[in-house]
């Protein structure tokens, strides 16, 4: 029952992400826009390109959706509202999201197009950059909670949210989450001006709809994870828990989507350089500081 409820909430969340995305792009809110675009997409032909790797071509979008949904299963919304409170929740979240990479590689390789293929492999380079910055800040979060249970992680922030307790970790995680969801300015695999859509370029009709749905689910999942790990989950004064979590998730989503509009696409070499030369030392520092804090103020 909880599972069905959460899946529906995920679908609603994905829809809201699409509305926000449309708002960011066009400048005005139109609640029906994603619905119309979705129906139109389903009405169009969906062709398989010439000489595809058919298995990969079909699996890619589905795997993207699956990995986003699996990652969402360990994110708690309100006390008790979680699909499965795994003992290794924070780790499982990472494990599920690594398959975003596999999905994009498949989607890039499958259709037999140069742009798509370059886009797919680019994302592998991107993973090498951001992966550590997802895992290491989560490590610090788990250190404070003394648990990998996501429920426990939220509970540990009842007094002071992690965004204040470990701001460096928050910034790193936020940026890395945007890179994971290949949102602009990290949209290297789907870059419009560089690869004319890249990984997405050869998908059409229903397959494109699944791919986009997977992407939206990924964005909302990552926003929810940011809230869980750093913004105190459902905690907050005055309002009920469900309102707080909804507000927080939508706010984080909006910031994630808006940020890319005002920043040019990052250079791959810069991304790798900054992540490794700056991000990882900062993440280590963050772990160290959190360790000291946890020892001093137990």
């Amino acid at each position: 029952m909880t599972t069905v409820l959460l899946l529906m909430l995920l679908a609603v969340g994905a829809y809201l992400v699409a509305v926000i995305e449309d708002w960011v792009y066009r400048g005005h809110v139109q609640l029906s826009a994603p619905l119309i675009a979705g129906i139109a997409l389903l009405g169009r032909e969906s062709v398989v390109p010439r000489k595809p790797d058919r298995i990969f071509f079909e699996t890619g979008p589905v795997l993207l959706l699956i990995s986003a949904v699996l990652a969402a299963t360990v994110i708690p919304l309100t006390p008790g509202l979680i699909v499965t409170d795994l003992a290794t929740g924070a780790l499982f979240f990472n494990a599920a999201l690594v398959y975003v990479l596999v999905a994009l590689l498949m989607a890039g390789w499958g259709p037999d197009g140069a742009y798509a293929m370059i886009g797919g492999w680019r994302f592998l380079g991107q993973l090498i950059a951001y992966a550590m910055l997802i895992v290491m800040p989560i490590t610090a979060v788990a250190m404070r909670a003394e648990s990998l249970l996501t429920m426990q992680i939220v509970a540990s922030q009842s007094d002071i949210w992690n965004i204040l307790y470990q701001p460096v970790g928050f910034v790193l995680f936020f940026v890395a989450a945007m890179a994971l969801a290949f949102l602009p300015p990290f949209d290297l695999p789907t870059a419009k001006g560089e690869l004319a859509g890249g990984v997405e370029a050869e998908y059409t009709g229903a397959r494109l709809a699944i791919f986009r749905l997977g992407r939206l689910a990924l964005v909302i999942t990552l926003a929810a994870a940011t809230v869980t790990f750093y913004l105190g989950g459902w905690h907050g004064p005055w309002l009920p828990t469900w309102a707080w979590i909804a507000i927080k998730i939508l706010a984080v989503t909006s910031i994630m989507l808006l940020a890319g509009r005002y920043v040019p696409r990052i250079r791959e070499s810069d991304l790798l350089g900054w992540c490794w030369k700056l991000g990882i030392p900062l993440a280590l520092l963050n772990i160290f500081l959190v360790g000291v804090l946890a020892l001093v103020f137990p």
Binding site: D53, I55, F56, L86, A87, T88, L91, F92, N94, A95, V98, Y99, L101, V102, L105, M106, W109, W121, L124, L127, A131, S147, L148, L149, S269
Partner: protein
């Protein structure tokens, strides 16, 4: 118990099947990703054996590793798409024999060894994670740290050796 055994068997067979696919396909990328899913199935086996941390870790690590292997295959192997229908096998009889024998041995051991009270006394997943953490940062810390640093050093050294000194100017100097 039976459900657990069924799951273990299912994922075990899936791992073997993907392992076979590795050699039956002509495409390097398919081969690499088949290996990935074989390893993922292994991770799922760990999960069904209630070794949660180990299973999740296996599932997570292998995705990155096998993807990196795939890109190396694409970069450096001829015909990565398998258009030339290249055969992936070598010493076919020997490897088939070894595989079958190893599989049979593993299954035999799994079925016929009396595992005794180990399974029933295993703690729950949360406790396992706690125990694992204490083990890693307690008595085994030195071993793991040494191994970790050694692997890291080896990787850096391998990369450094592989880089040819640039003939002139850096790569993005222009």
């Amino acid at each position: 118990m039976t459900a657990q055994a069924l799951f273990i068997g299912f994922f075990g067979l899936a791992a073997v099947w993907f392992g076979i696919v590795v050699f039956r396909t002509h495409s390097m990328v398919r081969s690499a990703l088949a290996l990935l899913f074989s390893q993922t199935a292994l991770g799922a086996m760990f999960l069904s054996m209630q070794a949660e941390f180990l299973g999740v870790l296996q599932i997570m690590m292998m995705a990155t590793e096998m993807s990196i292997m795939a890109i190396f295959m694409v970069m450096f192997m001829m015909d990565p798409g398998g258009l030339g229908k290249m055969d992936m096998t070598h010493q076919r009889r020997l490897s088939l024999g070894t595989g079958v024998v190893a599989f049979a041995t593993a299954v035999t051991i799994a079925l016929f060894v009396d595992w005794g009270p180990i399974t029933s006394s295993a703690p729950d997943a949360t406790q396992q994670t706690v125990d694992l953490g204490l083990e890693l940062l307690g008595r085994s810390m030195l071993i793991f740290e040494t191994a970790g640093i050694t692997i890291l050093t080896a990787m850096i050294a391998a990369t450094a050796v592989a880089i040819q000194p640039a003939a002139g100017g850096s790569r993005h100097g222009r």
